[in-house]
Amino acid sequence: MLKISSAPHIFSPVNTRTLMGNVIIALIPAILAALLIFGFSALKVLLTSIAACVACEYLICRYLLKIPPTTGDYSAVITGILLGFNLPASIPLWMILIGAFVAIGITKMAYGGLGKNLFNPALVGRVFLFVSFPQQMTTWPLPHPGDFFAPDVQTGATALGILKHLDGNSSSEALTKYSYSIDNMPNYLDMFLGNVGGSLGEVSAVALILGLFYMLYKKVITWHIPFYYLSTVFILTSIMWFYKETPDLDPVAHLLSGGLLLGAIFMATDYVTTPMTTKGKILFAIGCGILTVIIRIFSAYPEGVSFAILIMNAFVPLIDRWCIPRVYGTGRK
């Protein structure tokens, strides 16, 4: 049977589902790292988060909006993984359900579903949990690589956390209890491999960077956002380090610590919530970098990546307006 259709008659092999599938593949190294480092509890957190996000989207489509479920595009799976990545392994599972509802139900579906949300769903979910349950959200189990079923009894501090407390804001009792001491600062190699305390997906730099290369290779993203984001942070923290604003954390440690790599590679590159043009992406990334450094160094919060990206998300409509490409045949001789 012959058919009639309008031009073009052929299409690129890449559709939304393949793009999202490639993001999931890119997340696999970091998932494996999380399982290796935090063991069984990491698995529980990730599975709960993914299942909750997918279920939430499915149910909302099915029963609230009464449209065919959009879960087939895998984007809810990605949100689930990313939300899980932003949580400590020891978080009570019911809190994850709340996070998933905030991420998918409020941040994504209430705005009209995939492509319409202004803010990164996983980040909103994380920040919501962070302000609601600060205690649980900042208690990180120590890594126990290789020992899958080891219980998460010990808790440690992250590099950024140690610094915030050494600033003198905390009582000496708290300092000893949570081992906030400069001697407990992790070294580069541990930070690079992920043998440090922290949220599930943010600890292993090498796994995240592997994911980055996969996405670049598959042309899911371009290099601009990770590069400009990380460079901005590196340059600003170098300057501050030089002027002794941050005596204990050098620029390299800044790059490797906290959710910076996770944010720069997987969150600040989310299509929906970032600018469309290359120029816009660069602006966005630099903005994220500046805000991250400001929050990390001058605010009461140890970690600035989530807030920085969310704040920049809000500027995306504006950036998109500024950075429209020049139309051929206009404005140039």
Binding site: S6, A7, F11, G115
Partner: protein
Amino acid sequence: MTKTFPIGGLHPQKHKLASELAIIDAGLPEYVSIPVKQHSGAPAKIVVAKGEKVKAGTLLAAADGIVSAPIHSSVSGEIVNIGLQEGLFGYDEEQITIKVEGNEYAQGIDTSDKIITEIPDDTEEIMQRIRNAGVVGMGGAGYPTPIKTTVPEGKKAEYLIVNGIECEPYLCADDRLMQEKAEEIIIGAKIINKLLGIQKAIIAIDENKPQAIEIMSRLTKRYIGVNVRTCKSKYPQGSEKQLITAITGREVPAAKRPIDIGCIVQNVGTVFAVYEAVMKKKPLFERIVTVSGDTAEKSANFRVRVGTPAEFLINKIGGMTDKTAEIIFGGPFMGTATVNLNTPVTKLTSGILLLSKKSTAKEPETACIRCGKCVDVCPQGLLPFEIARRARNNDFSQLMQLHARDCIECGSCAYTCPARIPLLDYCKISKAEAKKILKKQ
């Protein structure tokens, strides 16, 4: 150095299955049906009647005004019908059907292969021959060549660019023509040079045609002023505006014509037709057509008489297969799909493609994920997603600000969109609306 246009573009799979296949004569079908409008502008006025005997090259319909072109018979035989028939775009159009008898040419046409190099002195005479031969732009819209080769008062021609870029997948007609009729094309370019009053011509070829580049470069050494330039293989490098920018660095201002910045672009097929019109007194009644596709049993480059039904050519390469889902006149990006196997080849048919369901499957449209890919590939610097979003809501208030009129309908955006939004359809709707608005003003 290979040249290209600076913004947008993409690299689809090339599928040049027919690039090694020499041009062969398709032969004569039993009947040909010749549309009286194969060009942009007014349909030609019929000057023959049913029952008349004609020869290949006999005038069937005369140009109606300046923006029009005459139509000639492509075969010898008897006119058996003049009337409305379904055309390529699905609308009825006037066609002249001729029953083929023998293979005779009208008087005065030189059908030999001998290459003639002495260009007539009288430019008026040259122009007259091109006009009488019904030569139109064979790469795209079929704009009458005499108009395009006349420099308007107050304008100056600087560049003649011969467009040897065939960036649509599958098509090889221009490639083969350059390999086999290189010298004729060069002479054709010199003829147009003469009309324009300039000395230089640039033959632009994309880098995936090494033989054509080689042959042309070798021959151009003998012709002063004609040079070959290699361009990147990138879609839509063959588009007039993008080619001008690649070669000259200039941009055609919005709503202006290439001549406004001193450029004239002619497709190689057209330039060859100019050569035949002027040196051989041969009207444009046959052309090279690539018949190919991912469901074609074999591919071919045919020399085809205008009016030959698609089916005749398809049968020549072994017919359709069960897998054939679409028949395309032209390339897969900008061509037109038809289900009517009687659709005749015209002056503008560069290819007939038999494409599979797999390669033409339109997946269901999903939500825009703001990936920006459509913006990245648009060679015109437009925002296809925004044009589409507004057109879908019947919001045409921003058409001018969005420059919808500058869309060249290349289809790069729709090809790329991972959400499979029919961006090109929306762009075409918006363009039509923009035209309406301009008319009102």
